[in-house]
Every structure is written in C-alpha cells, then in structure tokens.
C-alpha cells in the first residue's frame, strides 16, 4: 500500500478499516542468502539496502525483542554531517544525503527536519577547533557557517549571553543538520525491507553463530537453527555478547547515555543547540517536548537507565545556557546502551570468519548514521568489499594505529570519550 495524503483521506472516508500491516510476521525459514542479526535502525537499513541496492531479497532480520527496540527507539534524534576527520566526513556526508531522500525512498514520513544545528563555542581555542571542523565540512561539500556572538544572538536570542560562567563567543552553524522522528526511521526501513521480501523476525534471539572451517554457515536462535552463508552482526549495545558467539573479543565497552524529554510546550526552540562548555544539547520535538541530553553516565552498563549526577549536570548546563527552560518540566528520562569504541568512531568490517561481518562501535552517534551504515553494511555483505565512504571503519585500526578517528582528541583508548 502506497502512502500519500490522498490515501489518508480516502481511507479515513472508509472508516480507516482498510489499512494493512506495515510488515508481515513470517516464520523463520530454514535458509536465507543473508542474515542480519539485529532489528534496530542499522540492521533494518542493512536489510533494506541488501534488497534495494543489491537485489538480495532472501534475507532475514533476526530481532531478540521488537523491531526498533534498541537505540533507534531511545535517542535524541539528531541528524548531522559535521565531522572533521577524514573517514567520518565522507561517511556522514553520504548519510545526510540519504536522509534527504529518505521519505521518497521509503514512502514513509520520518519527519526529517533540517532545522539547523548550532554548536556553540566559548573560547578562542574552541573557535579555532570548530573553524577547522567547519572548513573540513565545506571541503567535503557540506554546509557550515561560523557565527560570531552577535550572529548567534540573532538566531538564538534566548540564550544567556551575560550571567554565564563561560561566555558565548560564537557558534558553528550547520543548516542542513536537524532531527527526525526516531521510531519512524525503524518502521520506515522495516516496512520497506518487508515490501522487498525481507523476513523480519521478532522475538527471535540468536544464541549461537555456526562456523565451519573458517566460514560462517548459519546461526542458532531461540526459534531454531537458520542457515545462511552471510551473517551480519548489527547489534550495537550488545556487540560484545554476539561477537563472543563467534569467538571474538571486540574493542568495545558498553556505556549508558541518558536522554530526557519535557512535557509538550508551544514552539520555543527552533534549532538543535549544543553547549560547548558543558555537556548539553537540545531540540524541540514536533510534539512540543524539549528533547535533550549530555554526556555518558560514564560507567559500563547494559541497564538502559542512568543515575542522577549526570542528569543533574546536564540540566545545570541547560539552565546555564538557556535559563528560559527552567519552568519546563522533565517528563521522562531513559538510557541507551552505547557501543563505545576506543577512538569514538564505528566499525564496519569483515571479520576473521568468512561471511561474518561486523557493524558496531557507534558510540553516541548511531542515529544519524543509520542510512549510510545500512547502505555500507549491505555493500560489504553483498560484495565482500568495503564501501568507499566506510573504508576507514576498519577493525584493525587500533592494532596498527593506522587511520584512528578520534574526533574529540581524548584518546584512542577506552574510557576517554
């Protein structure tokens, strides 16, 4: 069923009785050409592009819980291409272009809203670092503007420019950045993949990866064994556990990142704004809630929940930056499990086992990567060669020191990001 405004009207006139399932509930088959472990954003996008770009339709997505139950369903929905290092630049640039065509590709409105992102800076040194990044963005073909203090004031007059510990010097403005409705991205890819023949199998936990003679032959699941010559592990948040089934020990630690939303408010914040002197970023959802977050809780966790110290710090930072949000009320807080890699950048690569592919290490930046991650993972699984924009995401870069992508400069070592 093709979605459109006209369809909404005609179905409504018929009492909304004829809408059909957005995806099937198939029983797992005994054999597929490819299996994607993980029915989150990245896994669903991988399956979609396997079918769409590479004609692989006999594909299964195996999901332990419900589709989109991982970080795609619990993030702060920011979409941007404002990276500074080669390897990341081209990848996120590609991703943003896919975002810009996503509604058309999926026939599903993910409410991708290019409302602009402003990264504020608070010292000359920070300005120089942002300028370096902004210039890299433009080199890549993306958009960036460097605002001075008055330029920021024009766009964000509600910030506290006066009574603040770290004055606002200016901001790096990325107009094509913005937000999207996170769940809808999962659902749109799920619907698109299903329509192209992919079997989306929920409540199906992978319990083992079968390897024969150095080649992957299939997986064991809570719903029986399933054979496939290609298996992709796309389970950020649980990567270490699933990779361990194939005898791998990954350069990953799982951490908690909290996110927060207030009750609905009339429009008051029209951009995505990040604070450069504390951990805080914010946007307002189309429903009116202020959606914001900050830094990791900073201890290993699989709990999808955090603790008060970071929550308070994030909100203190928010109150410092924009004291007008004081009367907004926090409605809900939650946590996502971040696959933290040593250098803060992801991994999309082959493994030492033929036919077994790995997509992990998205740290706290996985949402905006969803389309390109799926695109490149599908390319890797289908062709056995890395896609040109994901060539940098090698698993062995930590061993060799070659092509480390430490955007924050805090170190290519665990627990420094």
């Amino acid at each position: 069923m093709r979605f459109s405004g006209l369809r909404v009207i005609t179905e409504a006139l018929r009492g909304n009785k004829s809408w059909t399932p957005h995806w099937r509930n198939p029983e797992p088959k005994a054999h597929y050409d490819a299996i994607v472990i993980g029915g989150g954003g990245h896994g669903l996008a991988t399956a979609f592009y396997l079918a769409e770009n590479h004609g692989l339709r006999n594909v299964a997505v195996l999901e332990k819980g419900y589709l989109g139950s991982g970080n795609i369903g619990r993030n702060t929905t920011i979409v941007r291409a404002n990276y500074g290092l080669p390897g990341n630049s081209e990848f996120y640039s590609h991703s943003l272009k896919l975002w810009e065509g996503m509604e058309g590709a999926l026939n599903y409105n993910v409410m991708h809203s290019q409302r602009g992102i402003i990264n504020l800076f608070h010292s000359d040194g920070q300005r120089d670092a942002y300028a370096r990044r902004g210039n890299a963005m433009i080199n890549q073909g993306d958009d960036a503007f460097l605002l001075d203090r008055e330029g920021v004031r024009k766009i964000l007059p509600y910030l506290d420019f006066d009574n603040t510990r770290f004055p606002i010097y200016g901001g790096l403005y990325h107009p094509r950045g913005g937000t999207a409705r996170h769940d809808a991205v999962a659902w749109g890819y799920a619907r698109g993949a299903d329509k192209r023949g992919v079997d989306l199998i929920q409540n199906c936990e992978v319990t083992g990866i079968d390897v024969d003679n150095g080649k992957v032959v299939g997986v064991q699941t809570t719903r029986g064994a399933i054979r496939a010559p290609k298996v992709g592990i796309v389970v950020a948040g649980r990567s270490s556990q699933v990779a361990a089934m194939a005898g791998m020990r990954l350069p990953i630690e799982s951490h908690i990142l909290q996110a927060f939303v207030t009750e609905g408010l009339k429009p008051v914040i029209d951009h995505v704004v990040t604070f450069g002197a504390g951990h805080f970023y914010i946007s307002q959802s189309d429903k009116g809630g202020l959606v914001f977050g900050g830094d990791l809780d900073y201890y290993a966790s699989y709990a999808q929940r955090g603790n008060l110290p970071i929550a308070e710090h994030v909100i203190e930072a928010g109150m410092t930056l924009m004291p007008m949000i004081g009367k907004a009320k926090l409605l809900r807080s939650w946590g996502g499990i971040m696959d933290m890699s040593p250098d803060g950048s992801p991994i999309i690569d082959k493994t030492h086992i033929d036919g077994l592919y790995l997509n992990c290490g998205w740290c706290y930046g996985g949402f905006k990567a969803v389309p390109a991650s799926g695109w490149c993972m599908a390319h890797l699984m289908a062709t056995d060669t890395p896609h040109e924009v994901a060539r940098g995401y090698r698993l062995d870069r930590f061993a060799t020191g070659r092509g480390l992508m430490d955007e924050e400069g805090t170190g290519s070592q665990h627990n420094l990001h």
Binding site: G73, H122, L265, V268, G288, N307, T320, G326, L330, S412
Partner: protein, 974 residues
C-alpha cells in the same frame, strides 16, 4: 457543582483573568469546581473541552498556566496547585479562548488524524516539510507555553539521608513511619500531597470507631514529635536510582504568594538504607463513547472533593463502576444531598445498604452528551435496551492500578495479577524497596495498616535495629468487597478515550494493531499512548487491555511498557539548581587577579582559571596594539606574567626519579639536582597527553609542571600509574598548584631585575639556562627556575601564594622602571609561536611525539607509559600530518584554515592539513602560524594554499621550521 461545606477562610484568585473566590485548603481544581468552572482545558490533538478528572498528581486534563511574565509556569496540574491570595491561573492550548477554540476544528477532522497519520503524508513536495507542514504541526502541538524569559526564580537542591524512607502517607505509610519512629530509625516520610493521610483524609472512614482523621492527626503528632523523623509533605518521590538513592521534588513556595528568597521548589537526593513504597493506587477509567466530557470524573475523586474540599462536583451524578469501591462515593454524595444513579456493570450486584438512589445492575454507560459540560449519559441495560438519563457529572471506577511506578524505575517488570486485574510489583525490583498497602494490591484499610507495620518491621530488622513490640493497629470497620468485573471498554461506534492527554482512543489502538504495531511498545510509540504528562498513569493498563483484546492475547502476554523517572514532572530549574549561570563551574583566581583587573586587563577563561588577556594603556584602541607592545617588553626589556595556573605537582621519595622516568618519555632520574628538564608525557595509547618542565629540587624531590588545561587530568593519571603500576615504588606526590604563586620574568633585562630584587648575581655560571633552586626574598623563601617560554633570557620566580599579590605588584613596578611591564595571554601566545613552542592547540589529543618532531625524546632505554602503543606502524609512517611553521606570503593566516597544495582544489580529498595557532609577529613583522601538514618536515620551503571557507581567506604560505625566531636558542642562554 457547589460548595456544600466551608473548609477555610475565603481566598481570592483569578482564572483566565476573572476574579474568583476559593477557600484556604483548596487546590485550584477544587476551587474551580466550587465555582462551577466545568471546562478547564482543551485536549492536545482534537482540542476537545475538558474538565477536572482526578484529585491527585496524575491529573490528565486540568493542566494550567500559573503566573505571568518570567514567572509564567506552564502545565501545572490544577489538582496539585494550592490556591493562595492573588494566584493567577490561566487555561492553555486554546485560541482565542477556552470557550471558543479555533483548532476544535481538528475534532471534526478526526477521521483524517488517526494514529500515525503523519507518517503517511506530508511527504510531497519535499521542501514543504520544513516550510509549511512542520511549522503548522509545531504550532498546533504543545500544551502550555514557556515565557521565553530567563528564569528569575529561586530553586534549590539538597541531600538527605535516612534509614527508612516511607513514600506515601496513607494508612500503610503512616503505619510504616510509626514503626520506624518507635525503633529510633532515621525516618523520612514523603508525601506528594500538601496534607498527609492519603485516602484516610479523603474518605468518610472510621478508625477506632472515630473519624479516621483523628487517628491521622494523632499519628502525625507522634511523628512530628520524634526527633528522628522528618515529615516531608508536598514532596513527590520522583525516581529510584542505584544504591538506595531516590530523587524527590518538594514544592516549597509554589503554594504561597511569591517570596523571592524562598525557593519555589527543592530537588532532593535522598539516600535511604531501606524504603517502603506506600503510594496507594490510581483509580482507572473505563473507555466508552465520549467518555472525555467535562463532568466525567473518577468516582473516588468525587468523594475526595466532597470530604476534603466540601465540594459536590455535580447535582445529578451517575456513578459507573465495576467494583464496590465506588459505592462509597454514591452513598456519600447522596448523603450530601446529591441525586445519584449507581450503574454497576456486574449483573449480580446489589444496591449498597442505605442507598436510596436509582441502582442499576448489569448495565453500562455507553455514551454521553454535553460538549461544554456533561448533560446526559446513555445507559445500556443488560438486555440491550438503552436510555438517556440527565446527569451533570459522571463518576467512573474501572478498578484500581497500584501506583508501583517507582518500583519499575530500575527495569523491573511488574506481574499481572488475574484475580485483582492489576499489575503488582514483585519483590526485589529495586534493592531495598518493599511495598505496602494499595501500591501492593492491598486495598482495604486494615490490610494497608498491617502491611505498613509488618513491612517496616522487616526492613528495620534487616538494618539490625532492635524493635519494640508492635503496637496495636487501629480498629477498622469490617468490609467484605465482592470481586470486581474486569471492564476496559464499552463497545460503541464513536471514539472512546484511553489517553485523555494525547487524545488516544480505542480506535487508535485497534488501528495500530491492524497495521501490525502489536508489540505494546510499538502501539505506544505509534499512537503516542501514555507519552503525555501523566505518562499513562490513567490509561496505560486500559490501553494494553484493549490491545490484548484486539490481538487475541492475554494482558500478561501483551506486557507493559516501562515506567521511567520522574514519577511526576519536575521543573528543570529544580533539577538544574545550584551549579548554573555564573556558578556553573568553580572560578579559580590567581594572586595577581585583582591587580590585573585594576590595570584594566580583560580577564579570559583558561580552564577554570581567569588570566589577563592584555594590559591596555592609554591611547591603545585595539588589543593588537597592547599585545605588540607587550611582546616588545619581552623581546627588548623585561615582561612579567603570572604563570601560577600551570599545574604544579610536588613529587618526593627515593623512587621519584624512577617514577618520572616511567611517566615521561624521557629520562628524569639522570637530571642533576638544581636543574630543570622539559618532559613529554604520553597517554598509554601512544599519543601526547601533556608536556611541561620538571625541576629536581633535591635528590628525592622533584617539582613537575603541567599545562593549565591538563593539570587535573595529569594528576589523575599519575595517581593511576603510581597505584596500578608502581605500587612497589617509594614515592609520594601532591598537587601544590594553589600553594605557589609563580611569575615569569622574561627579557634581556630579566636578570637585572632579579639581581635588584634578590641582591644576588644570578650569573650564568651559578644560574645557567635550566637551573633551579631556592632563593630568598627577604624572609620569604622562594624558588627560582631559569626557564623560558618566550625564548628570551627568562626566569620563573615562585613564592608561597600568600606573597603572590605583593610580589606581582613589585615585579611590575620594577619592570616598568626597566622599560617593560606585565604581559598577558595574547603576548604570551605570540612569543611562544615565534619560538615554535606548542600548547594544547597543537597537542590536541590526536598527535604523537613523531608528529610534533619529538620522536627523539621517546627513550629507547626504558619502558614508559605509551611507549608500546607509540611504536605502532601507523603512527610512524609516511603520510602523517606533521608540525610545521607557516609564514604567510600574502595576507594573514587564520587558525582553523585548511592547507592544500598550491593550485589544488579545496576539497577533502586534496586536504593536506590545517593551522592550529597563528600570530602577527611584531618581532618579524609577519603573519606566522603553526600547523600540521602531511609529510610536513619534508616540505620546508614549499608554498602552499591556505583556505578558510568560513571566513573567506584564501592565501599562500611558506612552510618553514616551527621555530621562527632565534632558532639556535642563544637568547635564552648566556
């Protein structure tokens, strides 16, 4: 609606600009009810008129705005807000008025606005989303509005500690708190409501054959008198966190006329060794056509308004129930002179004793009329016959949901209890948290009292407290309730509301299921069920029961979504109180701070410190003039700069040298006493962490300096290396950054100044470059280091911090006499760039010793932190970006610009590097800079393209040695 009993003196307040009278003790909700205000809000999506629905903090409908100007406080629950003289309350989400709201058109268009409709449309043309569709949706969405002004009110945060936290002060909570009080435990009793007592003060109940309120008063008096008990009314416990930590929000001043010094709210962090959840239960509605009219309320709320606030919410009331509890509402209202019809869905129900009104068993309410206020309800009898009956108020009771939200905050899943038709908490969901009373499915008063007592005794026993014998609990009337009949929805064609706030109806849930959003999480996210300010407290269980029904599953199979903190909405101003604004981070001041400010120096942030940017003089109109002059002081005379902000770590012990050998890439154990050496410090990942000089003050005594930015990081790192890897060493260290004030005295006349100051010769034989040692300034024992960050003859003089201010003044005066003076960060930066000295602009975390040309400092003779990782092939090979100097051949360099081969396009694939630091060098009259260039050391003399898209710079620069000035270093030596 009317006031049938006065509860206190009159209080005047305004509602949408209209002056109304309430009474002391009223909430805004009870006062509005007493004033006959039926419509108090508009719904989120369809803008349906809505009235007050509940009595507590879970209220879905009656969200209002309190106050105006910067104090405007949106989305306040009228059921929680107490009235006070001058209270200013307004309705929200309506235009132009509450009575006439243009967007009520949405209600007529509702077939087109079904669950998830927006995922299926607004896609064409693409550019219309940001320009047209989204702005319209955003304007229509949202509930209340922020003022847009900076918060000007006072909020606070606080910590509290206790042995036993009792959450809720109904019968279970009071019984639990009394046990804790009598056992001598530190008890906190937290109650969301302004008054303690829970349902005991809302029902016409008896304890010990007297009004329950008497027992409550006695219990509270005992608790208040106990020094080990803290009573916290108006305090909602908002979250359960790890290690017995609970968040709580106290409404300190929200119920009073504005007092600037009084916090509006205080956010508490309560550390409790044990906690008892005694939060009661929330009555649940029943879904049927048009069940959201103003005048439709919860049956128990009718009783609360009657008994506690003296307000009868209607004159012709229908009560629709599936359980016995609502009978009390029917009886009590009838007793107050209200005409009551009691409709019980159970076919075998019998009229309660003494109830004189109309009683209908086996019937259901299936529709209502009255857009701006309920006028009639339609009943469907057991035999299918329907009738309309006049009513201005309808009380619903679909049973009760234990208020177990806090128990779920640590991911624990409650269990469905078929007998009670409710989710119940299971033991151990939150370590140390037990449950008592209705929160645990124990609904009758006697059971609540007993559970409060026994659960508290068990918790106190766990803590090892000796308990006095359990006191007798008050006597309760015998009550035998008949089982409820699970009833979630009444079949019908029109919309039946589940989530009143987000306008989610049973049709939406059915549509979600039809489209295969059958997981309870999918249904929630697709329909937005339970995502509004009440977080589904009134509706989640009903919605998943409806989902279970349409998908042919049981409720237990369907499962439940996750409750997450906070339990009630919490102001960001409260959660963010304390460290905000100018107090967001500590401020650190040097001893020369006041003097620098007095000289008019703009002070800039350097980490947590403030440092002078430059020292302007009369006639200077641009910072560059001051900077150039100050550079001249150092190059030609003598300059003074406060360098106290650099981290100083005092390291002592027989193994101090060995320890330094391990944390630095180069050797320090070989450093002679009385000498200083530059050190490079790596992270274990082989990249540069920090650099600085370390002085050997004695055989077993070193003083390390770190950069200002990395001081804390280095200290933590040293603690780790020492404790984790060097436990056998005899070494100790401590930060002495604050203990010493230290000043750079640099320039050709530096020695002369110091000779004059100290009376010592300080000649090159005794004090060569990189010498250090003690020095006396009168009675003050100082330290002198002959080091230079400017490339000139330089010293750093350190004195105990209490002498810093005086010394700085003296040094400045002496320097002025010699044709110099103080210099600030700008000049310091120019001086170091001229000399190619790096800062964290260069060692920005991604560079190695190899990159900055210091590979030779990585000792081959010993192990050190980062040695192995620095030897990875990728960190040493061709193609890396290496530190170079750049000298503009036309125009001015700019930091952040990218480097390209001359003639190539400024695109990523051609990128050759970037500029990290720039300066106009008055010494060389040139625009110079430092940067990183691919294979840069092999490209000396090459002219490259410098491109800054952001600021329109496109010039050429010559690649050169990063040491622009005095490359032999002769000026710093003798």
């Amino acid at each position: 609606m009317m006031r049938i009993r006065d509860i206190g003196p009159a209080v005047s307040f305004t509602w949408d600009g209209k002056r109304l009278q309430g009474q002391v003790g009223d909430t805004l909700a009870s006062a509005l009810l007493a004033n006959g205000q039926r419509v108090v809000a508009r719904s989120f999506k369809y803008h349906r008129p809505r009235g007050i629905f509940t009595v507590g903090s879970a209220e879905p409908n009656a969200l209002v705005t309190i106050g105006s100007g910067a104090a405007q406080d949106p989305n306040i629950r009228a059921t929680v807000q107490e009235i006070y003289p001058g209270l200013e309350a307004r309705s929200q989400n309506r235009w132009p008025s509450l009575g006439f709201d243009i967007l009520a058109i949405n209600d007529l268009a509702s077939p087109f606005l079904s669950a998830g409709f927006y995922y299926k449309t607004f896609m064409w043309p693409r550019s219309f989303w940001e320009k047209l569709y989204e702005p319209f949706i955003r304007r229509a969405a949202g509930i209340g509005a922020l003022s847009g002004q900076h918060n000007a009110d006072h909020y606070e945060k606080a910590f509290a500690f206790c042995d036993l936290l009792v959450i809720g002060s109904g019968p279970a909570g009071l019984a639990a708190a009394l046990e804790g009080a009598r056992a001598g435990a530190r008890v906190i009793l937290a109650e969301d409501d302004a008054r303690m007592g829970g349902r005991l003060i809302c029902d016409n109940a008896l304890l010990n054959d007297a009004a329950a309120g008497d027992w409550v008063d006695a219990a509270l008096a005992e608790l208040a008198a106990a020094p080990n008990v803290t009573l916290m009314p108006r305090t909602a416990v908002t979250g359960a966190y790890d290690g017995g930590t609970f968040g709580a929000i106290e409404r300190v001043g929200l119920h009073l006329p504005h007092q600037p010094e009084l916090p509006r709210e205080t956010f508490w962090r309560i550390s409790a060794r044990r906690a008892i959840l005694a939060t009661g239960a929330i009555e649940r509605p029943i879904a049927f056509a048009n069940n959201d009219r103003p005048g439709v309320m919860m049956a128990s709320a009718l009783r609360s308004y009657l008994h506690r606030y003296g307000v009868a919410a209607g004159q012709q009331v229908v009560i629709f129930t599936n359980n016995d509890d609502a009978y009390a509402s029917a009886r009590d209202l009838e007793g107050a002179g209200v005409q009551v019809t009691l409709v019980d869905a159970r076919a075998d129900a019998v009229a309660p004793a003494g109830f004189a009104g109309r009683f209908i068993a086996g019937a259901q309410v299936c529709d209502t009329r009255g857009r701006m206020g309920l006028r009639a309800v339609q009943l469907r009898h057991g035999d299918g016959r329907t009738e309309w009956t006049r009513a201005d108020c309808l009380g619903l009771s679909g049973g009760w949901n234990p208020s177990l939200h806090l128990a779920c905050h640590m991911n624990g899943k409650p269990q469905w209890d078929e007998g009670l038709s409710a989710f119940l908490p299971v033991p151990g969901m939150v370590p140390g948290l037990d449950y008592a009373g209705a929160a645990n499915g124990q609904y009758d008063t006697a059971a609540c009292l007993a559970a409060g007592q026994t659960r508290a005794r068990a918790a106190l026993g766990d803590l090892g407290l000796s308990l006095p014998a359990a006191a007798d609990l008050p006597k309760t009337p015998q009550a035998a309730a008949r089982p409820m009949l699970p009833l979630w929805q009444v079949p019908g064609k029109s919309r039946a509301w589940l989530d009143f706030q987000n306008d989610v109806t049973t049709k939406d849930v059915a549509l979600a299921a039809r489209e295969n959003y059958t997981s309870v999480e999918h249904m929630k996210r697709y329909t937005t069920q339970g995502m509004a300010p009440d977080q589904g407290k009134n509706s989640n269980v009903n919605a998943l029961a409806v989902l279970a029904d349409v998908t042919g599953r049981s409720i237990a199979q369907t499962g439940i979504t996750t409750y997450r903190p906070p339990f009630v909405p919490v102001s960001l101003a409260a959660l963010g109180a304390g460290a905000q604004g100018a107090g967001f981070a500590p401020q650190r001041f040097t001893t020369s701070d006041a003097a620098s400010r007095a000289m008019g120096a703009p002070m800039i942030e350097a980490g947590l410190w403030y440092r002078p940017s430059y020292f302007p003089q009369a006639g200077e109109t641009h910072w560059r003039q001051s900077c150039d002059r100050e550079v001249g002081y150092v190059r030609n005379a003598v300059g003074i700069a406060d360098v106290s902000t650099l981290g100083k770590i005092d390291i002592q012990g027989p193994d101090a040298g060995a320890f330094l050998d391990f944390v630095y890439t180069n050797m320090f154990s070989t450093l002679p006493v009385g000498r200083v050496r530059y050190g490079l410090m790596l992270r274990e990942d082989g990249h540069v962490m920090d650099d600085g000089t370390t002085a050997r003050l004695g055989p077993d005594h070193y003083l390390m300096t770190t950069t200002t930015a990395a001081a804390a990081q280095v200290m933590k790192h040293l603690d780790f290396v020492r404790q984790a890897h060097c436990a056998q060493m005899q070494v100790a260290f401590t930060s002495v950054t604050e203990e010493w004030a230290q000043f750079a005295i640099a320039g050709p006349k530096a020695r002369g100044l110091l000779q004059q100051l100290t009376g010592q010769a300080l000649d090159g034989a005794d004090w060569p470059f990189m010498a250090c040692g003690p020095i006396a300034l009168g009675d003050v024992q100082g330290r002198l280091f002959r080091i230079s960050f400017s490339g000139e003859m330089g010293f750093e003089l350190a004195v105990p911090a209490r002498f810093g201010a005086a010394l700085f003044d003296r040094l400045c005066d002496m320097a002025r006499d010699l044709g110099g003076g103080p210099y600030g960060m700008e000049a310091l930066n120019v001086l170091r760039i001229e000399k190619g000295f790096i800062t964290h602009a260069e060692i920005h975390g991604r560079v190695t010793g190899f990159d900055i040309g210091m590979q030779g400092m990585l000792s081959r003779k010993k192990d050190f932190i980062g040695k192995a990782a620095a030897s990875r092939p990728g960190l040493l090979e061709d193609g890396r970006e290496l530190l170079v100097g750049l000298r503009a051949t036309n125009g001015s360099l700019i930091a952040g610009a990218r480097l390209f081969t001359q003639g190539s396009d400024a695109v990523r694939t051609a990128d050759q590097g970037y500029i990290t630091s720039v300066a106009y060098s008055p010494t060389l009259d040139a625009s110079i800079g430092l940067g990183f260039l691919r294979n840069g050391r092999a490209r000396m003399g090459e002219v490259i393209r410098v491109k800054d898209h952001l600021r329109g710079v496109d010039i050429l620069a010559e690649v050169c040695n990063p040491v622009f000035f005095d490359p032999e270093g002769g000026r710093a030596r003798d």
